[in-house]
């Protein structure tokens, strides 16, 4: 029997009454919240949820925040919460869900993503990291190099795709794993980017051992699992819930704060982008309403393409608006931030960081392909590599 919105509210109040945020130990509180199904209410009972609509979650979070409840480290665990968790929920065994979901949600275990490789970016399925099964133990031994891994230096676990059969065509020989980042074979090196920061890492994997119980989905089914992960990422990224959220809010504020910088040309460009940001907010809302009951599909691709374009145009406009001030930058020193903040630091940082929005999590070019083929049903590219064993592909 599912509960209604009022029932949910009552449950929250009861929980808060029983676990005073002011006096309850942080981790104890978080674990109890998970156990009470108030972590992510759209997850099933027993896995931190109550099987309720995902749309109800923001109100739950808002109530807990208002009550002074501890944070589950969500800024540092975006990959875990947004991508690993729904994938484990959908494809994991009961044991995997029991083992991984709670410490993931409470932030006890931070996750990162080992997908992209230097030679396999947009063409992720071309990946060359090998996982070979050790006959004696049944464990998988993983070797290869991954890249664009945010938070790798903080993570305890990784979602990992690796090639388990190079004799099959590229999409068929991939398997999906949950890998231990504390394995001695994992070497994480910071990868500095154009902002000066090293938000991402390169990860070198040398004989990393993954027990077979940490395989997610069947052997050779990794491509389908990875696609589910990526769809989650795109829906998560596109479309703000409230008006003037994100980059538009920052730039609108700059406009309001600086009457002396305004020009008619910038005014019209800002108004255009304000309208586009507002429409993108509504589009995201509509997509979330559509998806409330189903699985994410290609709609997330559209949201992300729009999000990236607007963020880039706005941040570029902001530099033109600020004029002389934009010629100055906060600091080029190489740091390793704990989490990403697209609108953080100064205008120059925002401009440079936004360039990544149309690359990370699927380039806008790849997402347009996905839209064209999956939503519009247009023919796919002539494929020269579809039926060729991976090991025979041109690289």
């Amino acid at each position: 029997m599912t509960i209604d919105e009022q029932g949910l509210r009552r449950r929250i109040e009861e929980f808060l009454a029983a676990h005073d945020p002011a006096t309850t130990e942080r981790l104890e509180f978080l674990r109890a919240r998970y156990n009470a199904g108030l972590a992510w209410v759209h997850f099933p009972e027993g896995h931190g949820g109550l099987g309720l609509p995902q749309a109800w979650q923001p109100a739950v979070d808002a109530r807990f925040e208002a009550a002074g409840a501890p944070d589950n480290n969500k800024k540092a665990n975006g990959i875990g919460l947004g991508m690993a968790a729904p994938t484990i929920l959908r494809f994991g065994t009961e044991e995997q869900k029991q083992r991984f979901l709670r410490p993931l949600w409470t932030g006890e275990e931070i996750w990162c993503q080992l997908f992209s490789e230097p030679g396999a970016g947009s063409d992720l399925a071309a990946l060359g990291t090998r996982a070979v099964r050790e006959a004696a133990s049944g464990d998988w031994i993983v070797n290869g190099q991954k890249v664009w891994t945010s938070g790798a230096h903080l993570a305890q676990f990784a979602i990992l795709v690796a090639r388990t059969d190079p004799d099959l065509p590229k999409h068929q020989g991939i398997t999906y794993f949950l890998a231990d980042m504390t394995d001695p074979g994992v070497d994480v090196r910071p990868l500095r980017q154009i902002t000066g920061e090293a938000e991402f890492n390169e990860v070198f994997l040398t004989d990393v051992r993954v027990p077979d119980i940490q395989r997610l989905g069947e052997v050779g089914q990794g491509w389908a699992v990875a696609n589910a992960t990526l769809s989650n990422e795109r829906v998560a990224i596109g479309g703000s819930p409230v008006r003037e959220n994100g980059m538009i809010g920052v730039v609108a504020k700059a406009w309001r704060d600086h009457p002396e910088l305004r020009t008619p040309e910038l005014h019209d460009r800002l108004l255009r982008l304000w309208v586009e940001a507002e429409v993108s907010r509504l589009t995201g809302q509509r997509v979330r309403q559509k998806l409330a009951l189903g699985q994410p599909g290609a709609e997330g691709a559209a949201l992300k393409v729009t999000f990236a374009r607007i963020a880039q145009e706005l941040s570029g406009l902001e530099l033109e608006l600020r004029g002389e001030q934009s010629l100055r930058y906060s600091d080029w020193a190489m740091v390793r931030p704990d989490h990403v903040d697209f609108t953080g630091r100064d205008a120059g940082y925002r401009y440079l960081r936004a360039k990544g929005n149309s690359i990370e999590g699927g380039t806008s070019e790849i997402l347009r392909n996905i839209m064209a083929e999956r939503v519009l049903g247009l023919p796919s590219e002539p494929r020269v590599d579809k039926d060729v064993p991976w090991k025979d592909l041109a690289k």
Binding site: W255, L282, Q289, K290, E299, R368, L378, E381
Partner: protein
């Protein structure tokens, strides 16, 4: 905390199916094209079928006044279908704008519009933005004098609503001089109207707000017409390019084309969200309705033009011909862009509404 619903309800889906069936049966592009050569024989029968048989003329009229008591959301669905077929009927002008002007009026006219017995048009140029200046008609001793140009729906109307001296008067179209205009969009042919001191009946006394509200609503719902139009352009082009072969392949399989169509599809989905929100806030009497109306026009009217332009370009040669219906959509889209304020006019309007001040 629950979001405004931006999806279609089952009731709306049913309404759409009914309207689409009628339009598929009775609004063939070939007959629509004939309007450009002066053959308007399609218009009367089609409007009667929609207005009276389907009862769409009274959609926005309360049930106790003889209407269907539906909301802007249902009217928006009807307009999507009308845009999809560039149907030459005065739904927007009579059943939306004129009807909403009269919404709080007494007297029989509202009921007559609802039943389809009468059809009305507000005497403003089609290009008038909701916040724009209204035309000047003078009134003396209940007699109206003035000329208003480029009015949509006047040819089809038997009753004209005249804004004069802060009030709205109704006059019989037969008493006015209605001169049809060769229009960019002959599927919504305009007329110039001259009033030579003719008698008007006062229908709304203190009418300025009612007229402005009606134009805001008209702009908001025009966005749904534009969405329907844009979606036709997208779907028709996709269908054509899956079939059309060049260089031994379907043209729709070439990546540059695919990406453009993907961008257009993103635009059409976005436009749908904007138009739905505008209709939903209108239906709910939400205070955000004025912003939503201008956001919708600022976004959707350019998008609809883009969709029609892309349809012509991607149909290439055949899209430039009189025989292919694409041109009907291009002309409607461009006229709709100017109708009820250009996107630029609505952006300028938003500057004041959302606190993004104009440079001094």
């Amino acid at each position: 905390m629950s979001d405004t619903n931006l999806l279609y309800t089952e009731v709306e889906d049913d309404l759409r199916a009914t309207v689409r069936k009628l339009l598929t049966d009775r609004c063939d592009p070939v007959v629509v094209t004939a309007l450009y050569d002066g053959d308007r024989s399609l218009v009367d029968g089609l409007w009667k079928a929609l207005a009276a048989e389907l009862g769409l003329a009274g959609l926005l009229v309360p049930e106790d006044r003889g209407g269907a008591g539906a909301s802007a959301l249902e009217a928006a669905v009807v307009l999507e279908e009308l845009g999809r077929t560039v149907a030459p009927v005065p739904f927007l002008t009579s059943a939306v704008i004129a009807t909403l002007v009269l919404r709080d009026s007494d007297g029989p006219l509202l009921g007559q519009l609802a039943s389809g017995e009468k059809t009305a048009a507000l005497l403003v140029p089609l290009s008038t933005a909701p916040h724009g200046a209204l035309p000047t008609v003078t009134v003396a001793d209940g007699r109206l004098t003035g000329t208003v140009t480029s009015i949509a729906g006047a040819i089809e109307a038997d009753t004209l609503l005249v804004f004069a001296d802060g009030a709205v008067f109704s006059v019989a179209a037969a008493d006015a001089t209605v001169t049809p205009v060769v229009s960019l969009d002959m599927t919504r042919q305009l007329a110039d109207v001259r009033l030579d001191g003719i008698a008007g009946e006062l229908v709304v006394a203190d009418a300025e707000q009612a007229v402005q509200d009606a134009l805001v609503a008209g702009a908001a719902l025009l966005a749904s017409e534009q969405v329907g139009l844009a979606r036709w352009c997208l779907e028709e082009t996709v269908t054509y390019l899956k079939e059309r072969k060049q260089f031994g392949r379907a043209v729709g399989g070439f990546q540059a084309i695919k990406h453009r169509l993907a961008d257009l599809a993103i635009g059409v989905e976005s436009a749908t969200a904007a138009a739905r929100y505008a209709a939903a806030t209108l239906a709910a009497g939400d205070e955000d309705a004025v912003v939503a109306s201008s956001v919708a026009q600022a976004y959707v009217s350019d998008l609809a033009v883009l969709a029609a332009e892309e349809a012509v370009q991607l149909h290439a040669g055949i899209g430039m011909t009189w025989e292919h219906p694409a041109h009907l959509y291009l002309k409607r889209a461009k006229a709709d862009q100017i109708a009820l304020g250009t996107a630029g006019a609505h952006r300028a309007r938003l500057a004041g509404l959302v606190d993004l001040p104009t440079p001094q």
